[in-house]
């Protein structure tokens, strides 16, 4: 079941976010979480024996059974935003490494 796989990926991502102390690993966990969510959203629109939602010369009229295109459009948006946040997070990680010489949040510490 793809939907359960999506949920399991999400849980793995949350576990990484809760326990890891390395900035890069936190960003990777966020990506895994996002991936699980995307798989789940796509699976909601799946129809058995449905064709991809594109009209071609073979699948040439709208009476056919298509897979739901709306979740796919939403996930397209989510992927691009995920790219933006990941790139920004990695830029922050590089800045942190330049300043402290480490990526571990415990070692960086802070004034509690």
């Amino acid at each position: 079941m793809i939907q359960y796989a999506g949920i399991i990926l999400m849980l793995i991502g949350i576990y990484g976010l809760l326990t890891d102390k390395n900035v890069i690993k936190i960003i990777v966990s966020l990506n895994v979480f996002e991936l699980g969510l995307n798989v789940f959203i796509i699976s909601v629109g799946f129809v058995k024996d449905g064709v991809a939602p594109i009209l071609t010369s073979v699948n040439n009229h709208s009476g056919l059974i298509f897979v739901d295109p709306l979740p796919q459009a939403l996930v397209l948006t989510a992927i691009v935003i995920g790219l933006g946040t990941t790139a920004l997070g990695l830029a922050f990680a590089r800045r942190i490494y330049m300043k402290y010489g480490t990526l571990d949040l415990e070692e960086i510490g802070g004034n509690n």
Partner: protein
């Protein structure tokens, strides 16, 4: 200790999700979604307001959106405002990256020298990647793909040049100009729709025949603009990441 608490919490959330997900009224089992009962039915029939008539590839003309790819018709026509926001998010994140890393003047040195195959191969492959990227965003309304994958492909071609030649630098000013022009034109097209047919980003050009290259009204225009914008934006991001502090 912390890990055990985290695992216990996740097992709890997971059990709730696994048992509760199909108990929600109307949530379909995997593979049994009924598209005919959803909003998407209007998108597939290319008519969200009136009675349904069958859309036939290469025959039907003057529909709400003439795009053969339904996902594109949603992303760039029905939910185009959403895409404008998405492009803005990407722009803001690239702005943040250039604030964080753009101030350095040095260039990150490669650990090892690029070998002969990479140097020569990249010259052969570079134009092919650019051409594929442009093809993908021009045909966004007919085939899978569109502005975002096409733009990323163009940026990946630039990354290949960076990897193969240590002295290579793009003229980032021109990329910035392309990006801002494309972004402004997207908004201007939206405002034109507001003036001509009373809705922001409405499809005011004749949508033509489904499946023709010159069809779907403003969709190909917007997707080309998005492709150029994403390509130049990601090139800027790559360039910023390859900068280094010089002592």
């Amino acid at each position: 200790m912390k890990k055990i608490v985290a695992i216990a919490l996740l097992v709890f959330i997971g059990a709730l999700l696994f048992t509760g997900i199909y108990a929600i009224d109307g949530f379909p089992k995997y593979g049994e979604a009924k598209v005919a009962d959803r909003v998407s039915e209007g998108y597939i029939m290319k008519n969200v307001t009136e009675a349904n008539t069958d859309v036939v590839y290469g025959v039907s003309t003057n529909l709400e959106t003439g795009s053969a790819n339904y996902v594109t018709s949603i992303v760039v026509n029905y939910r185009s405002f959403d895409t404008l926001g998405e492009v803005t998010v990407l722009f803001v994140s690239s702005l943040g990256i250039s604030l964080l890393l753009g101030g350095f003047s040095g260039k990150l040195r490669n650990r090892c020298k690029a070998n002969f195959i990479l140097r020569m191969g990249s010259k052969v492959v570079f134009p092919l990647i650019i051409m594929t990227g442009v093809y993908i965003f021009i045909h966004g309304h007919l085939s899978p793909g569109g502005g975002f994958p096409g733009g990323s492909m163009i940026a990946s071609a630039i990354l290949l040049l960076y990897l193969s030649d240590e002295k290579f630098r793009v003229n980032i000013e021109n990329f910035k100009k392309t990006e801002s022009t494309a972004g402004s034109l997207y908004v201007i097209i939206g405002l034109l729709g507001l003036v001509i047919s009373n809705y922001f980003l409405s499809n005011f050009i004749n949508t033509g025949t489904v499946g023709a290259l010159l069809s779907a009204g403003i969709i190909p225009i917007i997707y080309v603009l998005v492709g150029l914008k994403v390509g130049s934006e990601l090139t800027g991001v790559i360039t910023d990441f390859l900068k280094e502090e010089v002592e």
